[in-house]
Amino acid sequence: MTLLGAVTDALKTEMRNDDRVVVFGEDVGKKGGVFGATEGIQAEFGEERCFDTPLSECGIIGTAVGMAVYGIRPIAEIQFMDFIYPAFDQIVSEAAKMRYRSGGEYTCPMVIRTPYGGGIRGGHYHSQSSEAYFCHTPGLKVVVPSTAADAKGLLISSIRDEDPVMFLEPKRIYRTHKGEVPDGEHVVPLGKGRIVREGTDCTVIAWGAMVSTCEKAADEAAKQGKSIEIIDPRSLVPFDEDIVLESVKKTGRCCVVYEAPKSCSFGSEIAAIVAEKAIEYLEGPVARVGGFDTPFPYSLEHLYMPDVRRVVEGIKKTFTW
């Protein structure tokens, strides 16, 4: 099954499980979403539980917050993550803070699904990875799957979660990634990372579409005699510090790979955690291989996105003192 198919599968599974779950957004109904993630959902569950909205992300998230507060389980689709900003206030001021500011009287269990990341020739406004904004916002959870099975299992956990979850779907691997996906009920808990491959010389941390790039880079590094351990945190908030620290303590080296602009990113956070909690184990600098600190380009996308050679270069850095 593709990663995209796993998303659809998760949605259907939970909609069958729990009739409070509703799905809405721009073009999610008859069209089934611009990527097809909601294909067949309106047909199966009707227009009450899967419906198109006016073109207002502010309205989509604002109404979702109200629904969640009232007691149903909204899953809002934002067509591209780049278009989430008209709803930013509702996300960071409202969804994220509802439980806290009301002392737990009102809560906001909802999922915001959105395709994210580059690699599809989407240029400036159909490619960005802005997880950092949300990771810096207490009250939100932030989840990024990198395999089909995880996509299903993490999405089901997100829908069942009692707090608002940003579910970021790496669109570059929507269809290119294929893998086994358990039928029916399949739950992957939030906050538990995954060791993608074991290694002894350097820990590489990556999520979403970058995981497979890092696997190729690790192959490359292996040719040069370096054994790379790859970790996919799966959720950035809550973040599985232990799996990262344990690995870094073992390998003594750390390289973080991500698509977002390098500075002030979640990659920076991981580097900071390592510098705070495992510095005495480090045998080289903590490398960050990110997007550049520029807006996302169109024609030069292939240079902007971390690729094998840039990841290999990053790994090399961790071996220089």
Binding site: I61, G62, T63, G66, I72, S102
Partner: protein, 368 residues
């Protein structure tokens, strides 16, 4: 059409028979009591703020008819997504006075656990959703909750508020649009009190009225004298009934006046003409309603003092209790971020609780 202003109670307290909603005497007295209580509470709280006992306050002075009248047709099971200038709704719906007063003090009895500034109540007990500071955000939320109720087949009605300033917000546009598209059972009340802090409503929009904005969304828009509680009630009753019957949302503009400054941090005299203020004082909503009751023979001085004295007593007691309560415990800082705290939150909590030495005392004054 939308510029016509419905008034029922005239200056002298007379009410046109054909328009009077004919509430029972008991109901009329209950409503009047709530209006007076609201004003007393506002006064007392501002005094507390001036005395430094609480950090901030914001009154609804002059807008008692507007918000109490609109809330009146709502059933107990109905929901409110309020702005910050509708304190009377809490009293009308019988909220626990301690819940209100504890919020001002942000003490350990505060339903919001001291997370928000005074007047940002959250009262699940009366379906009064946690108040937010960012202007307008409640509007699309109310629309969404109403959509949810419709999907579930509940017959709940939702009422939400904003000011004249709030009509310019993103969520006003999104909330009204969604409510109309999905024909959600939601009533939007714009309390046009003529000012958004120092900005007059004529600088807020060139629309001939706030009610006229309903046409942009294809919903009914009604303009009503916001200082006439019977008129407000009548208009909102229609809107609430229509919503409950599946007739979709309504926009109601209550034309009223902010008789005080914006908040305890503001001084309206710096930007507002005293004459304007004076002229609105003549239209005081409580005074107007009192005359109506008097004409009906269900108001007298005794009734007035009974209301005042008993409520002042209750309020004083509540304040005394609230003052005696401590701040929330330090560890509560880390609760309610999520249902379960993350590993990072637990670590941060333990670090904080492990600290020695004096806490900071550098916190300043709130300016607005």
């Amino acid at each position: 059409m939308t510029t016509k202003l419905l008034t029922i109670i005239e200056k002298d307290g007379k009410a046109a028979k054909d328009k009077d909603p004919n509430l029972s005497d008991a109901e009329l007295r209950r409503v009047y009591r709530t209006m007076v209580q609201t004003r007393i509470m506002d006064e007392r709280a501002l005094t507390l703020q001036r005395q430094g006992a609480i950090g901030f306050y914001l009154q609804a002075l002059g807008q008692e008819a507007s918000h109490i009248g609109s809330a009146l047709p709502m059933q107990d099971s109905d929901w409110f997504f309020p702005a910050y200038r509708q304190p009377g709704i809490m009293l009308l719906r019988g909220a626990d006075l301690d819940d209100i007063v504890n919020e001002w003090f942000g003490n350990d009895g505060d339903t919001s656990k001291g997370r928000q500034m005074p007047v940002h109540y959250s009262l699940r007990s009366i379906n009064f959703v946690s108040i937010s500071s960012p202007i307008g955000t409640q509007l699309s939320q109310a629309a969404g909750a109403a959509m949810a109720a419709k999907i579930r087949g509940d017959d709940t009605v939702f009422m939400t508020y904003c000011g004249d300033g709030g009509t310019s917000s993103n969520d006003f546009h999104a909330g009204l649009n969604f409510a109309a598209v999905y024909q959600a059972p939601c009533v939007f009340i714009v309390e046009n009190n003529q000012w958004a802090i120092s900005v007059p409503s004529t600088n807020q929009t060139k629309s001939e009225s706030m009610a006229a904005k309903a046409q942009a969304y294809g919903m009914p828009g009604v303009r009503v004298d916001g200082n006439d509680i019977l008129a407000v009630y009548r208009v909102c009753k229609e809107a609430v009934d229509r919503a409950r019957k599946g007739g979709g949302p309504t926009l109601v503009e209550t034309v009223t006046y902010r008789m005080g400054s914006h908040s305890s941090s503001d001084d309206a005299d710096r930007y507002r003409d005293a004459k304007e203020h004076e002229s609105w004082k003549q239209r005081d909503p409580i005074e107007r309603f009192r005359k109506y009751l008097e004409k009906k023979g269900i108001w007298n001085e005794e009734f007035q003092s009974e209301i005042e004295e008993s409520f002042k007593q209750d309020l004083n007691d509540a304040i005394k209790r609230a003052k005696a309560r401590p701040k929330p415990a330090a560890a509560t800082l880390f609760d309610d971020v999520y249902l379960q705290p993350t590993q990072q939150l637990i670590e941060q909590r333990d670090e904080l609780l492990g600290l020695e030495g004096p806490e900071s005392d550098e916190i300043g004054e709130f300016p607005l």
